[in-house]
Symmetry: C3
Subunit: 306 residues, 3 copies
Amino acid sequence: MRFERRDIISIKDFTRNEIDYILQTSEAIEPLEKSGSDMLHGKMLATLFFEPSTRTRLSFEAAMHRLGGTAIGFAGPEGASVKKGENLADTVRVVENYADTLILRHPLEGAARLAAEFAQIPVINAGSGAEEHPTQALLDLYTILKEKGQIDGLNIALTGDLRYGRTVHSLAYALSLYDVRLHLISPELLRMRREVLDTIRKEIKVTEGTDVSKVLPEIDVLYMTRIQKERFADMAEYAKVKGAYRIDHDMLAGVKDALVIMHPLPRIDEIASDIDTTPHARYFQQVRNGIIVRMALLALILGAAE
Amino acid sequence: MRFERRDIISIKDFTRNEIDYILQTSEAIEPLEKSGSDMLHGKMLATLFFEPSTRTRLSFEAAMHRLGGTAIGFAGPEGASVKKGENLADTVRVVENYADTLILRHPLEGAARLAAEFAQIPVINAGSGAEEHPTQALLDLYTILKEKGQIDGLNIALTGDLRYGRTVHSLAYALSLYDVRLHLISPELLRMRREVLDTIRKEIKVTEGTDVSKVLPEIDVLYMTRIQKERFADMAEYAKVKGAYRIDHDMLAGVKDALVIMHPLPRIDEIASDIDTTPHARYFQQVRNGIIVRMALLALILGAAE
Amino acid sequence: MRFERRDIISIKDFTRNEIDYILQTSEAIEPLEKSGSDMLHGKMLATLFFEPSTRTRLSFEAAMHRLGGTAIGFAGPEGASVKKGENLADTVRVVENYADTLILRHPLEGAARLAAEFAQIPVINAGSGAEEHPTQALLDLYTILKEKGQIDGLNIALTGDLRYGRTVHSLAYALSLYDVRLHLISPELLRMRREVLDTIRKEIKVTEGTDVSKVLPEIDVLYMTRIQKERFADMAEYAKVKGAYRIDHDMLAGVKDALVIMHPLPRIDEIASDIDTTPHARYFQQVRNGIIVRMALLALILGAAE
């Protein structure tokens, strides 16, 4: 399978075989996360972060450094100023001269696809609009695989803001390639987008609900997300909803012993801190897996692994 | 010729022989842009960017990385906060302890010269005030040389804002060392500064004008620059001028086949996108040449090339 | 003596033996500051700067690069945005996955200690609240040692803002482990904090005063600090105080030939520039020593030196 020079824009661009291949490459590369490597010595990535995402940026930079490569780029307020007056196509055609791959974060949907069309070097979408965040989906899959041994056959709940959270969109598409049962638990206002739902329903069994406690006893993986206050016009509605999509230690009575709780982070208070020390908590493990999966992706698209 | 430990402050500090030498070194180092090198392994540059210039900063950092060196520094909003309360001489005497060369961008004219006086390590001016941007001039010369085979004998137009654009000041000085004919095309309000004009007229034939279409058929190189709205008190005047200093595909009827169109970027809409795909467009090539010339400069002043 | 995996949070966590050991390691590592080394090749530090401190950040990054390691992180305005909504414990548990050591700067006292409790990798306090700045104290000690041959037996004045300056708190604690005589010279409003004074008085002879000129003839080291306008409600009071804690060339008549003048920088105008060229001025030497001491600390805690 050839990934060299390939763009990573949407999880929908990948077949199950390709995703499995990325996950296998991640397993193979995992020991290098500790030992380090010079596999990408002389290679450089450029981060173009038009909106802030310190965690994702650092994860890509760390992955590159662990493989012996280097990183340049801009982020946050500086990214905002770059945007002024110059169109994205020009920025991409400038910055691609500086590096071997571009890592793009942008507030607009479609930005990563546009960048990939103009760039002659591979582009990785590190989040664009509310649409997609493919590397997050891949690290989520890798975490499930590592924790459960396999993805097929699992009973998985996605919980919280399923409308605006780009993470859950990419993850839902990815999971629909596997033989899983999916529960989508959210407030009415924040239900999974219609286009995602229509697509994944063709592939797997999906139920929707508003009460997480109803599915808790039967699920293998609970994927929590943050509900942002800004989504609500009515603060009373927000207050009500917020409490209902929070999980704490008491709610874990009756769950499966091997229940895995995940979260893309940052969390506000969706997961009480008394869960952090339980064996269910895997959200910090996800962070570490993020580096490993990004090491694999960088090695693949830059031609150092195959 | 010795460049080790030399400051790069103004293009006026260099003789034609020295500039030719830098351009030759750039040609020699160009293959390393792709292959990479450890020529500057263990060397470090520090970027002191007191005003934002993401492209220039990334170009220097990429050049350093391609030669195996590393980069630290500050930029943008952080640069602004450094400025508070501490004078530039102190900042320079602090940061020079951290690195092997300083790359300075500053809103005030004369800042780079002052920094070089205080620093014991070489300083490169990455743009100071509206005055000078010597590495841009060098990469422009390198682009002309690569595209045309030689600089002598060419017919070159500089167009747009010739009053406030630091790029065109440095470039005009540099071109005056060669046997070229120079056309300066700008609105009345944005004519080339008197001191630049007086200096270059002693060396080469210079004409001034306001209509780019008049010189288009005879020129070999068209160097476009951006006209900034902020320069105009009268918006009606701006609107008129703006349209007159914009070039599109239709205007290229009758130009020389080998006409080269350049721009320091970012552009707003001075060059229509329908020109990007013509063989005349060389502005993204300039970006790549920028890395190569900066690799050569870093190698020279840090004693790795001679 | 084992420093591997040890946190550097407060100077109070170290015995005199341990501090002497760090200073000896600094002397041993000093030649590598010029020659470079690959001692920490493959190691990575992460800077978490929740408030700006460009100089300290660059010093740590430069130290890491000089030993062949790499650096990632956030700072300044981006740091401020990271803080929003996520607690420090979570940020630490995320970022520790990216690197081998965390360098933390935070506006709140106690933040570095908290970070160290949550992190499984060593944490270095790069300044937290008005409390402590241990690596600055170590570089100050190293400067005194290098300039004077030994610390014991010296007569040292700390001058300026002794109340809010974290640098002088850490330094006072550190000096109290040596056989020195300490003069604390400050405005009434900015006297040394009671808890520091009580602690160090148990160990060494300390005098307090408001007039630096009275101690100038007898001291070996004059440590100046900045008095910040923001500390004063009454601007007339500030104006009076400010002038009294400023030193210039004329005041040096009658001081010891070998008087060493130090300052943590940035200075505003506490030290007149006519002192910069005297042999007393050592504040830029402190900057260079800062890299050396931080190289030693990084090598120690990452297990590359012992």
